[in-house]
């Protein structure tokens, strides 16, 4: 126990620093008080919680409905094997490798794997993307908290049509003509949601995030299972349609759609969102593992848990419920109008027509809130790690500072929601940016660090042997898949959006929205420049020689925090 305590406090790091000093290099500052996961199950729950988010219950059914149901599912499983699971192993491997040098952020991880002065600057995407996504994701998460309260208090009861509920949702968001909410309501819920997030992040891994997920994840699965059973047991609605038709709608393969490239790209995109790859958050969590800890089996367990939440539970709730009460054509129209309309307008209409609707509706939004918060607490982890490890800022101070920044930026999203500010960040940071980060991770960890080194690194301490075919997949198939997605999205979406030919949220660009779009892009670029300057300052402050490599500071690994 005393060894573990010394290790957690950084006591075992002294020899490395002395060695670095004797070799003539300026010694690194003493690492911040180490962090560790308390248990392996806690780690897997945290990783799975990071992955299981709003996308599992809102985006997935919408995408499946819009892209040929069963055809989408077939391409989805192909993308899971060729893209999702390999990227999970890459992120865990990159993170654990960075952790050997006490680097819980992509600039440090890239510098550890690629001994080049540019590596740390390339890694800036691993700070900008999670920061940007955290801001608007927390805002959307606050809608789930608000609607849980509105449902529990039956605030919208009586609005039994889709149009009436869309009006209610828009009133809450402060867009559209209806004004049945105070303008301060979204601010209040956003502030409360953010404060809860910051509290858990400030408590650290074992005492904060791990404690949260050990309660939240089982609760989430229980709530989802209850809702799935309640939906499937629903008798046929007024249109004479049973919920099983909703399941058939999702699982009936429309083989002709398999030749449609957009279906393959939609499923690949969904795999990205659902597994939370391409944000650096999985890598940040994995950086607290030692070389003794397994990542091959744990990574696979994380992906499997997420897929259970998505394929089994995510497909059984929203679309079957919508099909039961609106028919197949109605559900398709709702899905085409967006996943938020499905979750925040259609589902409340459905719950008003179900027995025990208040309880089920509260459970639905509670489920979404838990799915959201277990993901959003992960998004701040790489940035707090950067501030602690590179600038010596205490965890609590770092969390509070980031909370302040998130609050200020979040207010812009609330005020300018109707001008497409959120859509712009969601596209560049939360859609296109994820693919860019994932491609950079594969290039640095697999191609530059070396396929053999990466493969060996992933297998250190492993409880399973990954089939050798995955070495080929990780080295060639996954990066080619990523390049194809990037080029396709670049041509079909990114360029038209960049040139104002259409809005990031779909639809035409209005002259009124152009200044807000430019402001959104300008703020993202400003965030990037700010983080680049911070990286430059941190590396100079710590007197690093990029080509000599970073001093090794072993992590205590899972269990040291107990």
């Amino acid at each position: 126990l005393s060894r573990a305590v010394r290790s957690v406090r950084g006591g075992d790091t002294a020899p490395d620093h002395r060695r670095a000093h004797l070799a003539g290099a300026k010694p690194e500052p003493a690492p911040a008080v180490g962090e560790a996961w308390a248990t392996r199950l806690g780690l897997i729950m945290a990783m799975a919680g990071n992955a299981v988010g709003l996308g599992n219950f809102l985006r997935f059914p919408t995408q499946a409905a819009n892209n040929g149901g069963g055809a989408f599912m077939l391409t989805y499983f192909v993308a899971l094997v060729l893209l999702g699971i390999p990227l999970i192993w890459v992120e865990w491997g990159l993170g654990r490798h960075g952790g050997r040098y006490r680097k819980g952020h992509l600039p440090g991880m890239f510098a550890a794997a690629w001994l080049h002065p540019a590596a740390k600057y390339v890694g800036v995407v691993g700070l900008v993307i999670p920061m940007a996504v955290m801001v608007y994701y927390t805002y959307i998460e606050s809608w789930t908290l608000a609607f849980a309260v509105f449902t529990a208090t039956s605030d919208y009861w009586g609005r039994e049509t889709q149009e009436a509920m869309v009006g209610y949702l828009q009133s809450f968001q402060g867009v559209g003509g209806e004004r049945s909410h105070s303008p301060f309501t979204p601010f209040g819920f956003f502030t409360v949601t953010l404060a809860i997030n910051i509290w858990f992040v400030s408590r650290g891994l074992a005492a904060g995030i791990e404690r949260l997920v050990r309660v939240a994840m089982p609760t989430l699965f229980v709530l989802a299972a209850i809702l799935a059973v309640a939906v499937l047991l629903q008798p046929a609605g007024a249109l004479g349609v049973s919920p099983l038709l909703g399941l058939q709608f999702i699982y009936d393969p429309e083989f002709s759609r398999l030749t449609d490239a957009s279906v393959w790209l939609a499923s690949a995109g969904q795999i990205f969102f659902t597994l939370s790859v391409g944000m650096g958050t999985l890598a940040a969590y994995a950086s607290y593992l030692s070389r003794r800890d397994d990542i091959a089996l744990s990574g696979l367990a994380t992906a499997a848990t997420n897929e259970t939440a998505e394929v089994v539970l995510g497909s059984t709730i929203a679309i079957p419920a919508a099909v039961t009460f609106f028919g197949v054509s109605g559900a398709v129209a709702i899905a085409q109008s967006g996943s938020f309309n499905l979750g925040f307008a259609t589902m409340p209409v459905v719950f008003q027509q179900m027995g025990g609707g208040v309880m089920l509706g509260t459970a639905w939004f509670g489920l979404l809130f838990l799915a959201g918060i277990t993901s959003s607490v992960a998004m701040l982890t790489p940035i707090t790690a950067f501030l602690r490890e590179e600038l010596g800022i205490r965890r609590e101070s770092a969390a509070c500072a980031l909370g302040g920044v998130t609050l200020c930026l979040g207010l812009l999203h609330i005020v300018w929601l109707e001008h497409g500010f959120l859509d712009e960040w969601d596209y560049w940071a939360g859609t296109f940016g994820l693919v860019v980060v994932a491609l950079l991770e594969v290039i640095v960890f697999v191609w530059i660090f070396g396929p053999a080194n990466a493969w060996r690194s992933i297998h250190e301490g492993a409880d399973i042997r990954i089939p050798r075919v995955f070495k080929f997949i990780i080295t060639w198939v996954t990066p080619v898949y990523l390049v194809v997605i990037l080029v396709w999205w670049g041509v079909t979406d990114a360029l038209p959006i960049l040139r104002f030919e259409r809005a990031a949220g779909g639809g035409p660009v209005t002259a009124n929205s152009v200044p807000y779009t430019l402001a959104a892009r300008g703020l993202l670029i400003a965030l990037g420049i700010l983080f680049l300057l911070l990286i430059r300052y941190a590396w100079r402050r710590n007197g690093r020689d990029d080509r000599a490599g970073l001093p090794e500071v072993p992590q205590p690994g899972v269990g040291a925090a107990r």
């Binding site: 126990l1 996961w37 308390a38 248990t39 392996r40 199950l41 897997i44 069963g70 599912m73 499983f77 099983l244 038709l245 399941l247 058939q248 699982y251 009936d252 393969p253 003794r292 800890d293 397994d294 089996l297 744990s298 696979l300 367990a301 499997a304 848990t305 897929e307 259970t308 394929v311 089994v312 409880d463 399973i464 899972v558 269990g559 107990r562």
Partner: protein
Amino acid sequence: MTPLALGFLIASWTGVLGLTVWCFHRVLRAGRRGRRDEGPGDGKAM
């Protein structure tokens, strides 16, 4: 529900749930083996 859709649903759910159960079975088994091999208080924490 058409037989094809039902078959696809059963195959998808069985595959996903089977993989999840297999993974957690191996995680728990590795934890027990780790504790047995390395002695109390020094094994891989579960």
